[in-house]
């Protein structure tokens, strides 16, 4: 076994190129602990960065270049991720799960025409896309969505309500699942649309949540209610065939359930907590002298290593063309649950300073306070811990002889991010 990410001379050269380019193009933004604090001007700069990355094919580096991706191999993609990670950014550098998941789904399920129409917009960063899945009566049970799409000539008429949607600076498109056959059998009555958000009849209303997600690549931003009132959308925007939506969802969910994360993302919070402990004193002694603090930090550290290694394994397996079954959900589950454990370690170490966002007293400029909330919020999007366990059990074949197979994915070369 070899855990090394050894770069070839070409890759090292590429790394230097990326590093140089980013140094000149990544805007210096204020370090907002709460991503919701990002101003419109700052957001515009992030979008600009996205378009510039997109123009170079670095926004979706592993996607085919014919559709606006980078056409790069996993190594190159990883280099871009690594370099962006140094800025605490990812590809894309703003909340765009609709684009990430929608583009992968379109790659698998779209017609040639749809690929040519939608993918370049997404991959070049010209549009950003929200994903619209949950509804008031439909959460873990995605197959029960009630938002309806009724065929009317060359169009569909959409009615319904989606919740926990998107972010706070709008989106040009939404990637959404709807019910196209009110009388159809479960799992045979759904379809996906790539929905232009400017269509008449769409209303977006912010939700008041424990954590208002933000615009950063990694933020789990679910925060609007989106109402559809007789929204008319051309049938050409239906992806993957009418009533074939559950198959498409297989692709979507496969990626969402644990394949989203890159192999190289650093544990920002680990660095912050270690930094806090090393630079804070208690009764004149370094906090790190306290054996209880050491215990909490070591717990945090080990949790962090396991999450990293499970994601790393998944990445390496994918790179080697090995089909993942339970591993994506396992890594995602570990990430979710250890976030709770980490939050408690932090509270033990920092006391009330972990809880306040006051500019003077907040630990680590308020990033800790945000994490205390985020650790709770991140249990649910992308499939709750319970849903991950359902998937793991089916894929391992617990209590069943036939193991469930994963949803269809784009070819390995096209899953770089």
């Amino acid at each position: 076994m070899d855990f090394d990410l050894e770069w070839t001379p070409e890759q090292i050269e590429f790394q230097a190129e990326v590093r140089g380019w980013l140094a000149n193009h990544v805007p210096k933004l204020k370090d907002h602990a709460d991503p919701a604090a990002l101003t419109a001007d700052e957001y515009a700069l992030q979008r600009k960065l996205g378009r510039e990355l997109g123009a170079k094919g670095w926004l979706y580096p592993a996607m085919p270049s014919e559709y606006g991706g980078g056409g790069l191999d996993l190594g190159m993609s990883m280099i871009i991720e690594e370099e962006l990670d140094l800025y605490h950014l990812a590809t894309p550098p703003y909340y765009d799960t609709g684009g990430r998941l929608g583009s992968a789904s379109i790659m698998v399920w779209g017609t040639d025409e749809q690929k040519q129409y939608f993918l370049p917009k997404i991959l070049r960063g010209e549009i950003r896309t929200w994903q619209l899945l949950s509804e008031p009566e439909s959460g873990s049970d995605l197959a029960s969505v009630a938002t309806s799409a009724v065929r009317d000539g060359d169009d569909y008429l959409i009615n319904g309500t989606k919740i926990y949607v998107g972010s706070n600076h709008g989106a040009e498109y939404s990637w959404m699942i709807v019910k196209t056959d009110p009388n159809g059998d479960r799992h045979k009555n759904l379809s996906w649309f790539m929905m232009p958000m400017g269509l008449p009849g769409i209303t977006v209303e912010p939700m008041d949540l424990l954590l208002v997600g933000g615009e950063r690549g990694a933020a789990s931003g679910v925060k609007n209610t989106v109402y559809f009132d007789n929204v008319r959308i051309p049938a050409s925007h239906l992806i993957g065939g009418e009533n074939n939506g559950w198959e498409v969802a297989g692709t979507h969910l496969e990626i969402e359930h644990g394949l989203l994360r890159s192999a190289v993302r650093s544990d920002e919070m680990l660095d912050r907590v270690m930094n806090y402990a090393r630079t804070t004193t208690r009764r004149g002694l370094p906090l790190t002298d306290d054996p209880d603090v050491q215990d909490s930090l070591v717990d945090f550290y080990i949790n962090s290593q396991v999450t990293r290694l499970l994601h790393f394994r998944n990445f390496a397996y994918r790179a080697q063309g090995k089909q993942l079954t339970y591993e994506g959900s396992q890594a995602y589950l570990h990430q979710k649950r250890s976030a709770l454990s980490k939050a408690r370690s932090i509270l033990e170490v920092m006391g009330p300073r972990a809880l306040v966002s006051d500019p003077e007293w907040a630990a680590e400029n308020g990033h800790i306070e945000v994490h205390q909330r985020a650790s709770i919020v991140e249990q649910h999007p992308g499939g709750t811990a319970e849903i991950q366990r359902v998937i793991i059990a089916r894929r391992l074949g617990i209590g069943r002889e036939k193991r469930e197979q994963p949803g269809q994915l784009p070819s390995a070369e096209n899953q770089g991010n």
Binding site: L211, R283, W361
Partner: protein
């Protein structure tokens, strides 16, 4: 052996229930939390029930009730959770005055606490945070018949709503002095600390001047007074946490019955069931350790201190983890602020270190057990 409430306790419970249903509905509590309604909007109504004087003897305008009776009140307040300075003033400050105040101080101050006219907050902890005398750096220097106080108090509960403060200071003798002062005295400034915690603030004391007679603990080391007060107050706080968690359990149970996914109530799934069961297990562990500790404290039984530390540890951890489990039951709905669960989540975090974290109480328990 009788684990039921007394008739009087049942009445107290009913009164508090009524108060909550009238003045502290979920909508009101969410609005207070969001800063859209004032925290003290219903203070008069709350004070009129007499609960702020529950622990204060009748001669000082209170009800002279037991810890167990007072706990019944606080369990109901915890169900809200009803925030505000009721605990800081009616429990903690009242106990400090009762344990260490002079007759004059008691006669002057306790009736105002009982009536709700005066609202006390206790400024104890500082930047170097901890619940022992060794963490007190705020200085009180004698200037003739006055003392001059300098320091910064951090994570003070309820100071912004208070009229009076009791400040833990380091005297020139090296011992701890608990100093009463008007919150609006010169040199005193309070500032609310925003974040994922309820009612915390900073109190800065810049050459704040008070008369020597304002030292509550003049006859002994102030920390001894505070320690005695905290031992009792901690139990009331545990009862408040038990109340909070019992509300969290009710919410979780109801949601397991009414929320449907996969064509059935989510509570039909064993994984969801286990989260609800975790909540009730946390709840009952917190409840019964607290009840026994209250009884032991009221009756001055052997092992009262051990029972108190056991209860404090269990209640704080149970409320914390119970809220996590409740979020597992509720998934997305749990993080919608108007639903009300996050009020408890936030409160469980706020109270986690208050009057000593579980880790602190465990260490004290080890000591009490002779380890």
């Amino acid at each position: 052996m009788d684990l039921t409430l007394t008739e009087q306790q049942k009445m107290l419970q009913a009164t508090m229930n009524e108060l909550r249903n009238r003045d502290y509905t979920k909508e009101t509590l969410v609005a207070i939390d969001a800063g859209k309604e004032p925290a003290l909007g219903h203070w008069q109504s709350l004070a009129s029930t007499g609960i702020l004087g529950s622990l204060i003897p009748e001669e000082f305008g209170g009800a002279g009730a037991s810890l167990a009776d007072t706990a019944v009140i606080y369990e109901e307040l915890g169900r809200g959770p009803v925030p505000g300075p009721h605990f800081s003033s009616g429990v903690l400050a009242a106990l400090v005055l009762l344990e260490g105040g002079t007759d004059t101080q008691k006669r002057t101050l306790l009736p105002g606490i009982a009536s709700g006219e005066r609202i006390f907050a206790l400024a104890i902890t500082e930047e170097d945070y901890g619940w022992g005398p060794e963490f007190i750096q705020t200085l009180a220097r004698t200037r003739g018949t006055d003392v001059l106080i300098d320091g910064t108090k951090l994570f003070v509960h309820d100071a912004t709503d208070a009229t009076d403060l009791i400040v833990a200071t380091r005297l020139e003798t090296g011992s701890i002095g608990l100093v009463h002062m008007d919150k609006h005295a010169r040199g005193v400034a309070t500032r609310a600390l925003p974040g994922f915690a309820t009612g915390l603030s900073e109190v800065t004391l810049l050459q704040a001047l008070v008369s020597k007679s304002s030292i509550i603990s003049s006859m002994e080391d102030g920390w001894d007074v505070l320690e005695r007060a905290m031992r009792k107050a901690t139990l009331i706080l545990s009862a408040y946490q038990v109340g909070g968690l019992s509300q969290v359990f009710d919410m979780s149970l109801l949601y397991s019955q009414t929320r449907r996914q996969f064509q059935q109530p989510i509570g039909r799934f064993q994984r969801v069931q286990d989260h609800v069961i975790d909540v009730v297990n946390y709840l009952d562990a917190a409840r019964w350790t607290t009840y026994e500790a209250l009884w032991k404290a009221d009756e001055a039984r052997e092992g009262a201190i051990e029972a108190m530390h056991t209860a404090a540890t269990t209640a704080s951890e149970s409320y914390y983890y119970g809220c996590n489990s409740a979020h597992d039951v509720h998934a997305g709905m749990g993080i919608v602020r108007e639903y009300g669960l996050t009020l408890h989540t936030k409160m469980s975090r706020t109270l986690y270190h208050y009057l000593g974290s579980p880790r602190y109480h465990r260490k004290r328990l080890a000591h009490a057990l002779g380890l």
